[in-house]
Amino acid sequence: MNSRLEVQRNILDFTLSSLLRRKAKNSILILVFTLVVFMLASIIFFTNAVKREAVAVLKNSPDMVVQRLSAGRHDLIPSEYIGTIKEMKGVVSVKGRHWGYYFEPAASANFTLVVPEDGGEDGKIVTGKGVSRTMRAGEGDILPLKSYKGEWVVLAIKGVLKSDSELVSSDLIEISEKDFRKLFGISQDSFTDIAVTVKNPKETLTIAKKIKESFPDTRPILRSEVLRTYDSLFNWRSGLLLLIAAGAVFAFIIFAFDRASGLSAEERREIGILKAIGWETSDVIAFKFWEGSVISLSSFMAGIILAYFHVFFAYAPLFEPVLKGWAVLYPEFRLVPFIDPFQIATLFFLTVLPYTAATIIPSWRSAVVDPDRIMRSQ
């Protein structure tokens, strides 16, 4: 057993020195391989991280949101709906919510205005980091917003939001209910939508049905539905990108296959010598196995590390426009670093597996040369 380990150690030793002897040739292969892994890893890390952000955001959202539709469009919902829903069995709480968008022509940016649950403090606002950045206004500064009538509503910033997930909070402005109504001219008896909390999550669907029956003009949206929609959207997006990237992977596989089968005369001679001086076919196969492993694992690691930096520290400049797909993009949008073993496993399957499969037959072919070939070819 120990001697078998020793054999593998010796062969690995030889493999490393052989790789170093052909630095130029191998570094091109490693470079290309790293690039392929980097690309796929960036896609997977990015989508997973964005998906997690979305899930993290939704975790705090209510079990169900009820919107009113008018002429097929989202409309303000009258406050009397709240009372009816509150009386339904299994409903814990019902709250009218205020939120909307504000276009700031100076910065040509859209802000999201939200009334916080405690109702907010009149004349004061809390802003997201993105808002402070674009408006160059921090705590203690004043932010004037133009109302629907064209009048200025002057608001004092009492704080800037600190949040793990900048994705959602970045463009946020928390405003008091009174200021919100003043800004957008919304009457006392209507809300943007209604948030419903349900006692037993299993009953959410039943309650949603009941609401729909009582108010046919409403649209109840379940949190799980939203989650699912995000999930499939991101799965679909990353899958699609991967399919596009598949072309690159395929090209790489052909490149690797070509490399593995088109050995240089020098390499052929070397394997011939090994066979002649007493290496067995399986020893040469082991040598080829180690060679492939060193190349693929080092490229794999390098690709993953690069992708990690690309996605989590450099804000994924290469993929942002395709994957994020938000209406407004924030230059300093930063994802919370997150990878799990299965993203790695998936990547391994997508890159190392096809590489290995493509090189099995060529390496075997090079390993089975006749031991006496170098004698005969003289």
Partner: protein, 235 residues
């Protein structure tokens, strides 16, 4: 030590370019002697060496090797019949029994002298340090102790030849097989080479050399000359 009976080796059997390299060879090679196989090129010398040295399997016939126990191969009869063994076992026998010296040295360029000498021992699983010690001893014996870490492409012809002899000896084989070893050596180096073979023979090793070089065939070291022509033993 080696008994060859009715051995045939046919390449491209059944095709238009069929070529009979060995045609019914009968030969006994005695243990502890220096045997030279002589003959023009194309006479089948090299093929015979590779068949004897367990590098290739003959198409038909039998080769018996005595005194080489191999795991998994029965040796009750006092010999191993190598003819029907798969490559895996042939290689095991070959590693233990034969050391090879080739016409063109066949050293691996880019590696050091020491690494080249140790190369045949890598797949045996012997501890690295033991093998290294032995390799250094051999190289010292051949006057190469100053060049252990030199790359083999920097060596002269004579030095390369000595490195390849050290490599052939690294697994302590009972026999040395040399194929046209003096083809690229001048007269002085050729006779030096034959002297070394003589020394190895006196240590008890069987030596088999294929050559048509008079410097080899007429050397005082050799015990027997076997002449071949067209895949047959003539004398």
């Amino acid at each position: 030590m080696i008994s060859v009976a009715d051995v045939r080796k046919v390449f491209n059997a059944g095709k238009a370019n069929e070529y009979i390299a060995l045609d019914g060879i009968q030969l006994d090679i005695e243990k502890g002697r220096v045997t030279v196989i002589k003959g023009p090129s194309g006479s089948g010398k090299t093929t015979l060496l590779s068949v004897i040295g367990c590098m290739a399997r003959p198409t038909s016939g039998r080769i018996r090797l005595s005194g080489v126990p191999v795991e998994g191969v029965p040796t009750d009869a006092g010999y191993v019949e190598t003819t029907s063994l798969p490559e895996r076992f042939l290689t095991q026998i070959r590693r233990k029994t034969f050391g090879f010296i080739f016409q063109q040295y066949n050293l691996v360029a880019g590696m050091t002298v020491l690494e080249n000498v140790m190369l045949p021992a890598y797949p045996t699983g012997e501890p690295y340090s033991t093998v290294r010690g032995r390799a250094e001893d051999f190289l010292k014996m051949f006057g190469l102790h100053g060049r252990l870490e030199a790359k083999v492409e920097w060596l002269s012809g004579g030095e390369s030849q000595r490195v390849s002899i050290a490599r052939a000896l690294i697994n302590n084989p009972a026999a040395i097989i040399a194929d046209e070893p003096t083809a690229h050596l001048d007269t002085k180096l050729s006779s030096e080479f034959m002297d070394m073979m003589g020394t190895l023979n006196r240590e008890g090793r069987t030596i088999i050399i294929a050559s048509h070089d008079p410097a080899v065939c007429e050397s005082s070291v050799i015990h027997r000359v076997v002449e071949m022509r067209d895949g047959r033993v003539v004398r």
